[in-house]
Every structure is written in structure tokens, then in C-alpha cells.
Symmetry: C2
């Protein structure tokens, strides 16, 4: 990309790259600490220790603890909103919902910290997220709900309130990240692995596809 200012000046580009690496390094540590300790429970010292940096550096890059937290939420929100692509009017209902469920479950498996971070934020009343929930998320839910209502009207799936169906799917899939501790203790396994996620996917698929008369 020859118009990129950062690439035109190797010294500056290297510095910018260093900067991006530091930012990512801090954000990764913050994701982990905020996820399990919550906003109030997480200390800048703990995040700094997880990132392997003195805590003054965190303030140099992000200013305040809340700014770091907000930047993290902002970054993770993009991933969050990019999983419903499979639900389109021309899709087959069963394949679309199965794809969506598998994507959500994979998100819980690969990014449990991100899911826990959102859970903590919503539990707190979503002070930094309510605008996004009432904006982008609501709009996306309305759009996809319209698709589902179309399928229902065509008799291609059982009648259900689409928005509540989304709440149910979110809950069932995210619980494998947010309530991992509880699931692990009840199942008496040291950690959730392939087996547990396969059983989870199978259960959710049975309830959703079976409940909506999309398979035997």
C-alpha cells in the first residue's frame, strides 16, 4: 500500500508498529483481567503485571482505567456484531440457524474472556454499552427478526417470537463461556474441552432445530 504514511517513513512506521504492538499487548492483558475481575475488581497494577509492563505505561497509552476499558469494549464489539451473516432471506432456515449457533458457540470457545467481559458489563447495567445495545444491536436484531418472520409466514419454520429466540440462543451459547466455572464443576472436568463443546452444540442444535420443527 504505497499511499500509506506509516509505510512511507520506515523509522516512523517502525515506531507506529511498536506502538500498535504495545497497544495490543495491553489490550490482551486487560481483556483477561477485566473478564474475570470485572471493572471495579480489576486493578491497573494487575493488568500491568499481566502485560509485563509498569503500570505507568498503561496510563501513558490509555490515560485512564475507564478509557482502557472503553477501548477494549469498542474493539470487541466489532467481532460481536459480525456473526449473524448466515441469516439471510435466501438461506435455508435450518442451515442458517445451525451456522449461526455454531459460530456463537465457537466464539464462546475461542474468546471466553470477551464473552465474560460483556457479561460483566451488562450485569452492571451496561453504562458504556447501552448506546450500542439500543443502536447497532437492536437494529441488527430487527433486521434478522424480519427474515425469521418471513420464514415463519412461508411455513418454513414453527412460529416463535424471533427476538426471544435470539435471546435464547445467545444465552445457551454464551453460558459455555460466562458460566464455564459452574459447568466445569458440575461436569467434574478440569476444563471444558472438545467433548464438552460438542455436547453443547448438539444440545443447542436439538433444542433450536427440533423446537422450530426444522428437523425430525
Amino acid at each position: 500500500m504505497p499511499g500509506d504514511a506509516a509505510m512511507d517513513q520506515p523509522p516512523l512506521g517502525r515506531r507506529a508498529q511498536q506502538r500498535q504492538q504495545r497497544l495490543a499487548q495491553i489490550l490482551a492483558a486487560a481483556e483477561q483481567v477485566f473478564a474475570t475481575a470485572g471493572f471495579e475488581g480489576a486493578s491497573m497494577a494487575a493488568i500491568a503485571a499481566a502485560a509485563g509492563l509498569p503500570k505507568a505505561n498503561l496510563h501513558y497509552y490509555f490515560g485512564t482505567k475507564e478509557a482502557l476499558y472503553a477501548a477494549l469494549l469498542e474493539e470487541l464489539l466489532r467481532l460481536w456484531l459480525s456473526a449473524t451473516d448466515a441469516i439471510r432471506p435466501d438461506s435455508a432456515p435450518d442451515a442458517a440457524l445451525e451456522s449461526y449457533i455454531r459460530a456463537k458457540m465457537e466464539w464462546s470457545r475461542s474468546r471466553p474472556h470477551a464473552s465474560k467481559l460483556f457479561a460483566n458489563e451488562v450485569l452492571r447495567g451496561a453504562p458504556l454499552l447501552s448506546a450500542h445495545l439500543a443502536g447497532g444491536l437492536r437494529a441488527q436484531v430487527e433486521e434478522k427478526s424480519a427474515v425469521l418472520r418471513g420464514w415463519i409466514a412461508e411455513g418454513r419454520m414453527a412460529p416463535v417470537e424471533p427476538r426471544h429466540l435470539f435471546f435464547a440462543i445467545w444465552a445457551m451459547t454464551q453460558t459455555y463461556a460466562d458460566f464455564e466455572t459452574q459447568i466445569r464443576l458440575v461436569l467434574d472436568v478440569p476444563a471444558l474441552g472438545e467433548r464438552e463443546f460438542e455436547d453443547g452444540v448438539a444440545t443447542v442444535l436439538r433444542l433450536v432445530l427440533g423446537g422450530l420443527a426444522l428437523r425430525a
Copy 2:
């Protein structure tokens, strides 16, 4: 009740009653504050303000913040473990599961703070609850799972991993308490009311009973 020591001595009895009232007053305030702020986010000053007492009184009755939090968890745990009674070998599978789902959803409606408190605790890794989760809860899940496996073996419901079915039901019902903020914003309503919980119950019942081939 004539053998009751508290009733035999009116002055002492009245004092004990006063004490119980204070304890309940503080626990109710603590439930509300801990639920939305989490353990670290909640301050003794905030709980004291919610209870209408000076914060020194909280320390007089409970000693430390952690002891207050532990007492609260202990108290709520009893309610938590008392909802699966409907699932018994001689029950009809559809009626038993419907009764269980309605009980769990009613719990989310009437005691959202308690649900949020548990959610916060589990998100933190359940430092004060892991013994109960690996003990009483696991035992109860195993017992009820055996009942479900019996029904499956008799061909009375579709095959499903019973423990994961419980995880799914817990997630779908508790989400109306824990993620109330998100649901409220997506639905664009000022608060969750009769309508929203009816839609929620209908959705969960459809997925579970339909998914397990317990109704059309």
C-alpha cells in the same frame, strides 16, 4: 410454639426479633447492591445507605464485607436448590419440564438480584461457591439427570445429554434476570413486564418441549 426459647422470654425474644429484622434489612440492601455492582464494585457505604444505616452497624452485625457477602450467598443458595422438585421418576416428562421451566423463569422475574449475584460470583470463578457447585449442585444434577436418562431409555423423550439440557434451561431462564438490561434495550421497553416474561416462557417451552419431542 411453647418450647421456643425466644418466645419464653419476651424481652429477649423482642431483642432477637429486632436483631433478625436488622439482619434481614441489611441482607436485602446488600443483595441489591452486590447484584449490580459485584463484590468489588459494591462499597459498604453504598450498602449502608441502601439499608438506611451507618456503615459501622454493618460491621457490627457481620464483621467484614466478605462475611456479609458469604452470608448472603448462603441464604440465597437454599432457594436456588429448591426448584427441581417437579422432576421425579413418576412424573410425566412434559409436565415436569414445563413446571421446572416455569419455576426457573418465575425465579428470574421475582428475584433478579439473586440471579445476578450468582452470575457475578460465577463470573469471578466462584471463589466462595465452588464447594457448593461441586457438592450439592452436582449431586442434584446427577440425581435429576438419572431421571431424565430413565425417560429417554423408555422412549418417552428424545435422547439428549441431560446435564447439558440443564445448562441450556438455566441459561435461557436466567438470562431474563442477568441480561435484563440488554433484553430491555433490544426490545425497546422501559422494563421487562408480564408480556416479555410470557413471550420468554413460550419461547423456552417451545424449544425444550419441541426439541425433546414432547409436543407437536
